[in-house]
């Protein structure tokens, strides 16, 4: 990295003497960046590199449970990925593994709901009412449900974190009241 360069930041439109613009973090455009080879290199880098912060955060989470949460609540932001971001990255990995193994951990098929779950009796009665209201048969409805439940399981996964956060809050308040 060169420390003494003179260039105009295209984003802020101000002269800059350091390698990165102090306002926005922009760096000077190199002639190579506009070549096909330069674009190829950027693409390769984007596809193959794993952000060091992500790796550091994942390692901290697995090797020292709780310390990542503590660091985040203390205001350490630069070194680690935000909790929600890390959760999303884990989701992508999880969906990838589900796809590879052809398994669905959270979504159960309609048949499973109707015959293999603790709430099967309730599911059967709810479904019967639903089919009656929509004038549909089980055979027509089953594929629609099975497709939709997989999609819902992926898109609503964040819902699971809410009750646990509330329980932690309740537990923390109960402890504070006792002491």
């Amino acid at each position: 990295m060169t420390d003494t360069v003179n260039w105009i930041c295209p984003t802020c439109n101000v002269p800059v003497t350091t390698h990165f613009c102090a306002n926005c973090g922009e760096e000077p455009l190199a002639p190579r960046d506009l070549t096909l080879r330069g674009l190829g290199e950027k693409l390769l880098h984007a596809l193959t590199s794993i952000d060091a912060r992500t790796m550091r955060s994942a390692w901290k989470l697995l090797r020292h449970p709780g310390e990542l949460t503590l660091a985040w609540t203390r205001g350490v932001r630069k070194a680690y990925v935000a909790p929600f971001q890390l959760f999303l990255i884990a989701n992508v990995l999880f969906f990838g593994v589900q796809w590879l193994t052809s398994e669905n951990v959270f979504s159960s098929s309609l048949d499973s709901h109707l015959h293999h779950q603790d709430w099967s009796d309730l599911a059967q009665s709810l479904l019967a009412r639903r089919l009656e209201a929509t004038h549909t048969t089980l055979e027509q409805y089953q594929p629609t449900f099975d497709r939709a439940v997989v999609l819902n399981a992926k898109s609503l996964i964040l819902l699971m974190t809410i009750p646990f956060a509330l329980i932690c809050r309740w537990h923390s308040l109960a402890n504070a009241a006792r002491s």
């Binding site: 503590l70 909790p83 398994e103 709430w119 939709a148 974190t161 646990f164 932690c168």
Partner: protein
């Protein structure tokens, strides 16, 4: 905010744990012991997941909440059971949401 961050980190850990469990189930299937459709494999992996979750909560509650004392392990186990219940509850909520939106 601490509770939300703690919860998000726990579920991130769980998703990574499920990744390992799914790959182990696949490996078990390839070795001829059967996959998640075999109750013995399913139960073994569920128990291992619950144990790993308990250990995570036990360890994380120290730095995260300053937990200590004799009851810490019991509380961690109860919270891990709560997590398992939430997973089951999520499946049930998915049934309701899917049923009434399709």
């Amino acid at each position: 905010m601490t509770h939300v961050a703690f919860s998000l980190h726990l579920y991130t850990f769980l998703l990574l744990l499920f990744c390992v469990a799914l790959l182990l189930a696949r490996f078990s299937e390839l070795l001829g012991f059967g996959g998640l459709d075999v109750p013995r494999v399913d139960n073994a992996l569920s128990t291992a997941n619950l144990a790993a979750c308990t250990v995570y909560i036990y360890l994380a509650s120290g730095p995260g909440y300053g937990a200590s004392g004799k009851l810490r392990a019991a509380k961690a186990f109860l919270l891990a059971l709560t997590v398992a219940t939430i997973v089951l509850g999520y499946r049930f909520v998915l049934l309701l949401i899917t049923l009434y939106t399709t």
